[in-house]
């Protein structure tokens, strides 16, 4: 099938090449273009018929002319996979970028990936301690979850992602995580930041990196996360690793998707993004989880920057409908100098209830978390009121809640970049300490039995 080279390009439009050809070409087949100067570009078939084939060129169509030779390679895009991927840095198309040798493949894996049969999945329920109080207490992460970080430009989402990558562990288990890191269109500076940090902590040896930088071809970004997830699936389901996939920045990925859609003159959906963006994103995000009979797992941390801090923008919006919650970074907290500036109110972990409680974290976790939310939400709301009527108009309960909101931000949210808090003493006990600033009678979300057992002022001492 391969071997034959066509020189029948009719049109070139943006990243797309249209050509007439003679033999049947299959959908999604991989294509090689040989330019007149001998250089090689790669592409993939987007549309095929008896008359015309449309090819998307990953490296962009600069210098492509009607003389360019087009070769169909008779196969869909595959990634060579092996345990040797760990510790390597590859480019956005899966070629070594670290000067090392080619990956010796144990297998060639189709990068599109097949859907996991919902019946074959296993429910995620192992709590991952990130050592960050805001996440552990309020939006607890479990193994097999996909929990994006909704951020915006100028906010420290990278620091948070790295801190999670460094500190994530299962309580009472020695299982380590392997990190698969996928960069899509980030700057060289950001990339260096990631690599240096991974190097500094020794995590690089336990990581596989797929890197497409801001000056790398935009269309290539469409395959980079698929390569990363294919590697993650192989490591998790063939070699029992627990894989943490961090990819940044999903916004750049979606921009590339829009670029292709526009070049194909497709009918655009909201804000020009293609109508199939939901399905396309789902094909990435849904490659997280656990399956029956396999030890490994895939946990995803996609990072996306919300254009204009707008959570209703199609990218965060569609992501939120697929992922199991979100961690929202707040500009307001960041400007107050609080790190990590996680706004717990719009943040959410949908799998939290499965991962916390007796035997997993602690029996009082759910109550404490509900109480923190309620008290902080009310305290924050009161700030608005105080701005209008002043503190004098508040009753005692409201005053306590107002004060609590400040303490919560200053003591509970705020922690240093290398502070690794344990869930019980570090996070939940701290929460009790802070909640003791509020009169017990206002703590209506807490069960009496937990107040008796954990409240620093009301503790009934050890029974028995």
């Amino acid at each position: 099938m391969s071997g034959k080279e066509y020189r029948t390009i009719t049109d070139v439009k943006g990243p797309l090449v249209f050509l007439n050809k003679t033999e049947p070409v299959s959908y999604n087949e991989i294509v090689q273009l040989r330019l007149s100067d001998g250089s090689i570009k790669n592409g993939q078939v987007l549309d095929t018929s008896d008359d015309q084939v449309i090819v998307q060129v990953f490296e962009g169509t600069a210098s492509v002319d009607r003389q360019t030779g087009v070769k169909f390679l008779g196969d869909v895009f595959k990634l060579p996979v092996s345990k040797g991927l760990i510790g390597r840095i590859l480019d956005g198309a899966g070629r070594p970028r670290d000067g090392g040798p080619e990956i010796v493949a144990d297998d060639m894996a189709d990068i599109i990936g097949a859907a996991i049969n919902p019946y074959s999945r296993q429910s995620p329920e192992s709590f991952i301690q990130t050592g960050i109080s805001a996440i552990d207490a309020c939006t607890s992460l479990v193994r097999g979850q996909k929990l994006p970080i909704f951020s915006a430009s100028g906010l420290p989402h990278n620091d948070i992602a790295l801190q999670i990558a460094r500190q994530a562990k299962l309580v009472g288990s020695d299982d380590d995580f392997v990190v698969v890191f996928c960069a899509m269109g980030i700057t060289a500076e950001e990339y260096n930041f990631f690599v240096h940090d991974l190097e500094r902590t020794g995590a690089l040896e336990n990581a596989a990196l797929f890197v497409n930088l801001a000056d790398d071809p935009a269309v290539e970004r469409l395959i980079t996360p698929r390569l990363a997830l294919t590697a993650a699936e192989y490591l998790a389901f063939e070699h029992d690793y627990h894989v943490l996939v961090i990819y940044t920045d999903m916004t750049n990925y979606c921009e590339s998707l829009r670029q292709i859609g526009a070049a194909r003159e497709e009918v655009p959906g909201r804000r020009g993004y293609p109508g199939y963006m939901y399905t396309d994103l789902a094909m990435l995000y849904e490659r997280a989880g656990l399956v029956k009979g396999k030890k490994g797992s895939i946990t995803q941390f996609p990072i996306l920057t919300m254009p204009g801090d707008d959570i209703t923008h199609p990218i965060p919006d569609l992501s939120g409908y697929i992922t199991e919650g979100q961690i929202v970074i707040s500009r307001e907290l960041h400007q107050k100098g609080i790190y990590p500036p996680i706004n717990v109110l719009p943040s959410l972990s949908r799998l939290m209830n499965a991962g916390i409680g007796p035997g997993k974290t602690r029996e009082d976790h759910k109550s404490v978390s509900d109480q923190l939310y309620a008290a902080y939400a009310q305290g924050k709301e009161l700030r608005g009121l105080v701005a209008i009527v002043g503190e004098d108009a508040l009753n005692e309960r409201d005053l306590q809640l107002l004060k609590f909101a400040d303490i919560f931000e200053d003591k509970f949210l705020r922690q240093s970049r290398d502070e690794d808090r344990s869930i019980d003493e570090g996070t939940l006990d701290l929460a009790w300490n802070l909640l003791s600033n509020i009169d017990t009678k206002y703590l209506v979300r807490l069960d009496q039995k937990w107040i008796d057992k954990y409240h620093p002022g009301e503790k009934k001492g050890e029974e028995e």
């Binding site: 196969d75 429910s123 959906g269 199939y276 995000y285 396999k294 209703t312 009753n395 009678k441």
Partner: protein, 580 residues
Amino acid sequence: MSTENGVIYRISGPVVTATGIAPRMYEVVRVGNEGLMGEVIELHGEQSVIQVYEETSGIEPGEPVIRTGQTLSVQLGPGLLTQIYDGIQRPLPKLEETMGVFITRGVDADGLDLTKEWEFVPTVKVGDELSAGHVIGTVQETETIEHRVMVPPGKEGVVKTIESGSFNITQTVCKLEDGSEIAMMQEWPVRHPRPFVQKYAPDVPLMTGQRILDFLFPLAKGGTAGIPGPFGSGKTVTQQQLAKWSDAQIVVYIGCGERGNEMTEVLDEFPHLIDPNTNKPLMNRTVMIANTSNMPVAAREASVYTGVTIAEYFRDMGYNVALMADSTSRWAEAMREISSRLEEMPGEEGYPAYLSSRLAEFYERAGRVETLSGEDGSVSVIGAVSPPGGDISEPVSQGTLRIVKVFWGLDAGLARQRHFPAINWLSSYSLYPQALDQWYRDNIATDFPEVRTEISTLLQIEAELQEIVQLVGSDALPIDQQLTLEVARMIREFFLQQNAFHDVDTYSDLKLQYDMAKAILNFQEEGKKAIAGGAQLEDVVNVPARTDLMRGRFEEGYDGRIEGLVAEMSKQIAASMEEN
């Protein structure tokens, strides 16, 4: 049946164009060397446009396309209950057996087990005259559900022979004088509603055990409801609560384009849940359809029809069926995706112009009907809607709201305050109360409608008072209005909030709901009296018995104790007046 062969001309994602065949619209065809299942959705000159229910990577022009002569149909018969299907009725456990944990393609699977034998008990005898829909016998399909085997639509005649004993679902159990044979299994094309005699007006509520739904915004058996809400506002939990606790006899749950892990949670949880009405596992009455967001988009489009056809089949047996579709927005997006591949002229926001008529057709398949055999059966449809950005002015929400009679509006603000279910009591509505009021008076309490009105009026007043409080603080209000605020707060925290994850609080029967509502009104009345008699608002609000009354709902046997708790509260409030 024609088996003429064509060839693939063009492939673009899930849409394949073939030449050389002349199929009918919506005919099922086999595409490519692997025989992928597809459905004809457009005829265009020599070309037939096909949506393919499986991944199309690696398929080439020139591969064969074969007609089957059939339209997309489901197999109906014993074995549906407890089953978990994908969008085109392939059982997921079966797919796991044949292709492992990842769904690959080109695998066929029957919707029903054709070899399993069921104990068939006839209910007709030789010489009986039968018409379509007539029940000819029964099979105990699960512990709780009796499957009624019916004469398929279009058949009628006089019974010549009727069998009794163990049969598989394709064996003939009944022969008619005209020679036609009836087996336990029948097939039905999913895009056609199953026939019935007439539709009735719904006048019995579908009880769900969810206080805000049953009490303030009830759904009737055979009715339609829409639940729009932004992500994270609790749509899926609400749908799952309905699937768990609604008093329908059969539940069909369609996970349409949703999260895999969430489906797994449902699949893990349901077999362990006990139906409060029968004390048997809920799974016994449930059929599930799971087509997650990353499974083929054309099968997602079909999943909704597959589900509603199964629901109608059980309705025809005389059952009350509840159908949950989570989420209809994903279904609409599947239509949009396929429409754009067809290069159709788009309507609003890229959705096809026929979006609202498709939505209407779907919801119209709900209803309480007189079945062909004269029974009373119903299909209630509850559709979740996921509007982008939570803005319900978009086409899917609007198309849904034009049709459904009940609107349960989820609210991100409430969800953020951890007020669950996060259903906004000000924007939600139900058009059924008028039709249902007589039923409430006869079965729960004669003043039920009045109590409901009082509760919702209080909430309305609270909203108005809150606007003032926002400006001047609550201390500036007169004391009776402050009491009203406290009463409204009690409605919100004690009555409307309900913890889906709490063993006891997760379900309240209608009588208990009524008692709780009365308890709130009782507090209001006693509080007014005490304050008029000189009591401080603080003392009235803080009587310990009120806390006991409110916390009591988390304990077993609350329905038996609530009366005593209310009496104690009244006593203490009255006492607070004397202290002053």
